[in-house]
Amino acid sequence: MPVDVAAEVIVNRALSADYNLVALAAPAIAAAAAPGQFVMLKANAGFDPLLRRPFSIFEILRDGGGTPSALTILSKRVGPSTNLLYDARAGQRIACLGPIGRPFTIVDAPVEGWMIAGGVGLAPFATLAESLRARRVETTLFYGARRAAELFHLDFFRALGVALVLTTEDGSAGETGRVVAPLDRKLAARDRQAPVMLYACGPEAMLAATARIAARHQRPCQVSVERVMGCGLGGCYSCVVPMRGEDGGRHHVRSCIAGPVLAADQIIWD
């Protein structure tokens, strides 16, 4: 059941000229959230911009006693709302509605968890990695960005025991090129009998490529999609994704309530 909190900004850290990490004091949301869920944020009062924006919950922060006290948001500036979030000051309050959406289905060992992240698509994987590692699932993060300076939080994942496969478009770290290339190779090299669950989040083209690769190697794949969203609660039918229904037909599914995590092989990638 989502709640709306006027969450105080605890800290806002610029990670680059585009990316920032905001910590929001929203204990009720942090305590209820599952990996893959999101919040709807509005950082301004008034009408410009008017609507909230969806953001994946990046991390759950805990107090000394281990009780969830806050959540963080990994944001990349692309428009007015993310600009406001980039410029948010400690002490400021941001309307935060959540947790919302269908989370990832978490596998158990001996299934391995392979996470594929493109850019700000890293956002849902910090909490997912924690959940997978808590179950002792062998976990790999395939993580692609434009350049080395935009690969964030690597130590966090290393400390959890997550294997990293990095790519950059300019070759400044890891392999040069797109993140789906090493994914394809590693799936091809893997024993068919050894189970893997793929989890992907990132630009639409990357998700579509991941879905094709998953299908070719006959591996299940959960993708977290990002759509323009009006309300986050199923009210407006803005955020639909075309999916194949049980009848084989094409259906528009609301990604806010049926997703954001959806089965890659049911999405119609056109």
Partner: protein, 312 residues
């Protein structure tokens, strides 16, 4: 203090209605809102059969507003009756069903099915959706069409019939009058204003349907004017909407002549808006010593002198 209002034979416990297309089928909000606390819920527009609507992107923000072209995606009236209505009934929601059609016969058939179902409070005839090519708007943009749909539906149902009018015509009051003559119990207005937004870098429209309907605070003063004009023209109740974002906005519509109001876009921003609206209306009535909210309807004072108006 009495917040109840009457729309034909339908008694609402307060004048606040969730606007069609902005509250799903109501059940989506059962976790965050006590559905029985709203005056009514106008559910997403329904045709006879299922529709998938337009491709994404379906919305884009505009200054103090938003543009949408959803394309009336919906599950069809029969699935609504079997899958959604029972839960709405169990939660004691007052349900207004937004009825769509591509032909006059479809409006009649959908309305007939709803009249036979248990738990429908009223029929809102959507003859004003700007986003689909066939049907709907072709009735809403013609005085004869409006009269014909309303009178045809009137013949097959005892439920209150509430045509929803488009603002995309020169003279909205004449459409309100056509609806009244056709036997409407009330009219609701306004639906969205046909509009468009272009990305100048790509030179592409920002929503897939090219054009869409503008809603939100940006349209409010125009909608208030249209409610005011219709109040001068018809005797049936008016359900006013367009950009209501707080209790003051709702009160403004009622003073202009709306018996009840609908709230759409603002519910996206704040799904908990409903109790705030009720509290704000109560406060106002108390402050102005008005016992019944219905006593406020149409009380606009257009005779005040210039000095009174400026507050000097």
């Amino acid at each position: 203090m009495d917040l109840s209002v009457r729309i034909g034979s339908l008694l609402l416990k307060n004048p606040l209605i969730a606007a069609s297309g902005c509250f799903g089928y109501g059940v989506e909000y059962a976790d965050v809102v006590d559905l029985s606390s709203l005056g009514a819920i106008a559910v997403k527009g329904l045709f006879l059969s299922e529709r998938e609507g337009h491709a994404a992107p379906r919305i884009v923000e505009t200054p103090a507003g938003m543009l949408n072209a959803i394309g009336l995606q919906g599950i069809g009236v029969r699935r609504f009756v079997s899958e959604k209505l029972p839960e709405l009934r169990a939660r004691n929601a007052t349900v207004v069903v937004n009825v769509c059609g591509t032909t006059l016969d479809e409006y009649v058939e959908v309305s007939r099915i709803l009249s036979d179902a248990e738990g429908v409070g009223a029929i809102e005839l959507n003859i004003s959706c700007p986003n689909i090519k066939e049907g709907g708007i072709q009735f809403g943009c013609s005085l004869n069409g409006t009269y014909d749909v309303v009178s045809a539906v009137r013949k097959v149902t005892r439920l209150p019939v509430i045509p929803k009018l488009t603002p995309n015509v020169t003279d909205v009051p004449s459409f309100a009058r056509a609806a009244e003559e056709g036997g409407a119990d009330a009219v609701s207005l306004v639906n969205t204003f046909l509009a468009m937004v272009i990305d100048i870098e790509t030179r592409q429209p920002k929503i897939s349907n090219v054009v869409g309907g503008l809603s939100g605070p940006a349209i409010r003063p125009i909608a208030v004017r249209m409610v005011y004009e219709c109040r001068q023209t018809v005797r049936i109740p008016i359900i006013g909407m367009g950009g209501i974002a707080d209790a003051r906005d709702a009160l403004e519509f009622m003073i202009a002549g709306a018996t009840a109001v609908q709230v759409g876009t603002a519910n996206f921003v704040d799904p908990f808006i409903w109790t705030k609206l009720v509290d704000g209306i109560r406060d106002y009535l108390q402050r102005h010593r008005i016992a019944r909210v219905s006593d406020l309807v149409g009380t606009i004072d257009t005779h005040a002198s210039a000095t009174e108006r400026s507050g000097v």
